[in-house]
């Protein structure tokens, strides 16, 4: 498997389009999570249902920040891993040449 540069660029653009499209087409969409909708569905058909356990930690206002930090962490982690692989391959090439 080896994707050409063109294919890669097209794929990245496609991801961008898929991310942007709903925001352009549905500007009024509220950012409710699907589990909030599910909560309402549960309570609408089972009025007596009371959640029997609460989250032990509520991040409150920090939510949005933590969310961005997680993105940073994930993307940063990927960057470090691929940098490591890149370095290793460069080192191998050098070793091959000197032999």
């Amino acid at each position: 498997m080896k994707l050409s540069w063109i294919t890669k660029i097209i794929l990245v653009l496609l991801v961008g389009a898929l991310i942007i499209a709903p925001q352009v087409l549905l500007p009024d969409a509220e950012f409710n999570g699907t589990d909030d909708t599910a909560k309402m569905t549960v309570t609408s058909s089972n009025e007596n249902y009371v959640p029997w356990f609460e989250n032990i930690f509520d991040p409150g206002d920090m939510e949005e920040n933590l969310f961005h930090f997680q993105q940073l962490l994930g993307v940063g982690g990927l960057g470090i891993c691929f940098f490591y692989l890149y370095k290793k391959s460069k080192k191998n090439e050098k070793a091959d040449k000197s032999v």
Partner: protein, 248 residues
């Protein structure tokens, strides 16, 4: 003295990572306390053997194939990154991806079960997303069904003469979708609506969890193809051992 300082630093970094790693998006997982006790126990019992065997598999990677550790790190980072990207969906809510497919393809399904469960645990503990009581059920839908579906599709299509990129795309995106189908079935089973019957109840939850997920599944498929392609180049160069990737 120096050692103590280093230990402190590492502990600090780990704590910070744990705090940051989790995510606040209200989407996808079954909420804390929203699954009756019996079902919580049931899904925990179903999931635990997979998680246990997954730890055994990861230990084996560390012992026998240390050069695969970087793949484990990539799979974990990919899962963290993708599950933090939330997108609005056609029915006005938002949802996120799982990133499980990559791990299933690169490391096999069992090791990925552990990666996914750890991600879910962070989310449950620190971001009030998902929950401890529902962790068994959520681990089953995301980490177990998701990774085994992706792995199965990858293996199956690899035997047929399907182009690699398409194989990876289908494995990752269908694995992602199956997670939501499973969540819907779990919710339907726990809260069967007597007036419409079980199949319709499941369909109702499928509308909430599953349908909004389709565009996300496509994005996840494409991103997985890009990362697998990058890993593949290093495999060709012999940087990652040849037996990695359950391919061939």
């Amino acid at each position: 003295m120096k050692k103590a300082k280093r230990t402190m630093t590492v502990a600090g970094i780990v704590f910070f990572m744990v705090v940051l790693a989790s995510q606040p998006v209200n989407a996808m997982h079954i909420m804390e306390g929203f699954l009756p006790g019996g079902w919580c126990v049931f899904w925990w019992v179903v999931s635990l053997p997979f998680i246990g065997f997954g730890f055994y598999k990861i230990e084996k990677i560390f012992k026998d194939k240390p050069e695969q550790k970087v793949l484990l790190a990539i799979a974990a980072a990919f899962t963290f990154a993708l599950s933090a990207f939330k997108l609005p969906t056609p029915n006005g809510s938002s949802s996120h991806m799982t990133g499980i497919g990559l791990g299933a393809i690169a490391l096999g399904p069992f090791a990925t079960v552990v990666v996914g469960t750890i991600a879910l645990l962070f989310q449950a503990l620190l971001l009030a997303h998902g929950g401890l009581t529902t962790l068994g059920a959520n681990a089953f839908s995301m980490a177990i069904v998701g990774s085994f579906t992706a792995y199965g599709i990858y293996k199956g299509l690899s035997k047929l003469n399907v182009p690699k990129a398409l194989t990876v795309f289908l494995a990752a995106s269908i694995g992602d979708l199956m997670t939501y189908v499973t969540t819907s079935i779990q919710m339907g089973l726990a809260f069967p609506d007597a007036t419409v019957g079980l199949p319709l109840t499941i369909l109702k939850y499928l509308g909430i969890f599953g349908i909004p997920q389709i565009s996300l599944a496509i994005i996840e498929g494409i991103l997985t193809v890009l990362v697998v392609n990058a890993i593949y180049q290093y495999k060709e160069k012999g940087i990652i051992s040849n037996e990695t990737f359950v391919d061939n």
